[in-house]
């Protein structure tokens, strides 16, 4: 056995995974959705609800969401978390659950999330406030922050709007292979370029969906995982980095915290980017996969735009990226990170149907929160 490298690599596994209500899910509440997804994931794992002794959730509009979901499910968890690292929360939860499982603090972790902003308009008073140092300049939150990072990337590295559009088109082509994806009609580079400009250089087609969806995964120690009905997916690495809250405080507009979390997670796993078969990176906007592919080491810094060109991350391309259709074309209810993990699990189990990456053995899920503020990377392996 190799040294632990600060993380219990391979000692825990995801044994259940599910989505629920992707697209439109009217008539119920976010916690109803999270509970539905939780029960589906537990059924998938062959584990009873009563065995769950840790809850990790990030409710969309309820600061005390961990308490809410524990109550709803009738559980008395030993560990309850409702962290506020935005869309990266769920990759952070995998890291934290792995540590708590390995320590023997808990035996069965449930990570769950649900939100339906497309069916139920979110409360007008959210849980985040706009910075008083930015609000007077009226940036669109969070879109303009990503647009500023994109403008910087285009200026410094020569990235083009066509290359940004490639990310949206690749996501759509994967979505067309995924019956669960919410938006599957054809999309071309010209469509993206010709779409309504919202905050230069990003058009409405450079932006993720804002629809309904829920997801859940179940984690146990690797020894227990062998008794579960599905092929386990081992957690090889999990690392996190926070660099700022607001875009004006990002240390380097061209380099995200993924340049910290990625190498750390790979070191824990004892592998590198070249070993990964399926790459799931948070695509809130078309610039984000470009930044993350660079920072995670799939291509050199500044080459992300050229790397994705020519359909290179679309079906049949050189690297399988965001095979569910991503936040751009499958689902994005506000915090997308858990859906990255579910798709990685499905690919590693060989359950991805028409979009299956043949022989997928290693996958990466990279979550992003805030405005390129919180970056969390998880490395997974077919068990």
């Amino acid at each position: 056995m190799s040294a632990p490298r600060g993380f219990p690599s391979g000692k825990t596994a995801i044994v259940g995974a599910a989505t629920f209500g992707i697209g439109k899910c009217p008539g119920i509440s976010p916690v109803d959705m999270a509970a539905r997804a939780s029960l589906l994931a537990l059924a998938d794992a062959g584990i009873a609800l009563s065995e769950v002794d840790a809850i990790y959730t990030s409710a969309p509009y309820e600061a005390l969401g961990g308490l809410e979901l524990a109550e709803y499910l009738g559980l008395t968890p030993k560990v309850t978390d409702c962290n506020r690292t935005g869309g990266s929360a769920f990759e952070v939860y995998v890291q934290q659950a792995a540590l708590a499982l390995e320590a023997g603090l808990i035996d069965c972790a449930l990570i769950a999330y649900g939100a339906n902003p497309a069916s139920n308009p979110p409360p007008t008073v959210g849980m985040t406030r706009q910075s008083s140092w930015e609000a007077p300049y009226r940036p669109l939150a969070p879109l303009s922050s990503y647009a500023l990072a994109a403008s910087h990337h285009m200026h410094v590295y020569g990235t083009t709007r066509e290359q940004l559009a490639e990310v949206a088109v690749a996501a759509r082509r994967w979505a067309q292979l995924n019956p669960e994806a919410a938006v599957r009609d054809p999309l071309t580079i010209a469509d993206v370029l010709g779409a309504r400009m919202v905050s230069d250089p990003l058009t409405v087609r450079d932006c993720c969906l804002y629809n309904d969806g829920a997801a859940a995964v179940v984690m146990v120690r690797a020894d227990r995982a062998r008794d579960c009905p599905r092929r386990p997916v081992k957690v090889l690495g999990g690392a996190h980095a926070v660099t700022h809250r607001e875009i004006s405080s990002m240390p380097d507009l061209g380099v995200t915290g993924a340049a910290i979390s990625g190498p750390a997670a790979f070191a824990q796993a004892g592998i590198g980017p070249g070993d990964i078969d399926v790459v799931m990176v948070y695509d809130a906007f078309t610039i984000t996969p470009i930044l993350f592919l660079e920072d995670l080491g799939f291509c050199p810094k500044g080459e992300g735009g050229r790397f994705v060109a020519g359909g290179a991350i679309a079906p049949g391309g050189r690297l399988a990226v965001n095979t569910n259709g991503g936040g751009l074309s499958c689902v994005h209810p506000g915090m997308y990170g858990l859906f990255l993990l579910v798709e990685a699990v499905r690919q590693l189990r060989g359950e991805a149907g028409e979009r299956q990456v043949q022989g997928a053995e290693l996958a990466l899920a990279h979550g992003n929160g805030g405005v390129l503020s919180s970056e969390a990377t998880v490395v997974l392996a077919r068990g």
Partner: protein
């Protein structure tokens, strides 16, 4: 007791764009805080900013009526810190990264606001 944001806004209302600077490290701080980031130095004093800066990033928020569209920029101040702002006195599509700009205090919605104009 230092009141970082209130004091900064009071200076702005009197027509001064101030930054904090640590006496011990010499580092400039913006936005105003009780201590310098990373060093934790609490020996911060107010110093007048040069007002010189460079556009580091730009976006234009597009409105239905193009006349209502406006730019949002990140400006690297000559002293080091970066801030969000807007560049006035220039066409909405004319703001470029690398452009030299200088600070100006204007009134907007009855509040003093720090913007920049081409240098």
């Amino acid at each position: 007791m230092l009141q970082p944001e209130a004091e900064w806004r009071a200076h702005l209302a009197e027509g001064r764009f101030m930054l904090q600077r640590s006496r011990s490290t010499g580092g400039y701080v913006f936005y105003p805080r009780v201590a310098e980031p990373l060093t934790g130095a609490e020996d911060l004093e107010w110093v007048e900013a040069s007002g010189r800066g460079t556009v580091a990033a730009v976006t234009v928020v597009r409105k239905k009526d193009p006349a209502d569209s406006y730019n949002v920029v990140l400006v690297d101040l000559a002293e080091g810190p970066r801030m969000m702002s807007r560049v006035d006195d220039i066409g909405v599509d004319e703001v470029k990264i690398g452009m030299a700009v200088s600070a100006r205090i204007i009134a907007e919605r009855d509040q003093p606001l720090l913007v920049f104009v081409p240098a």
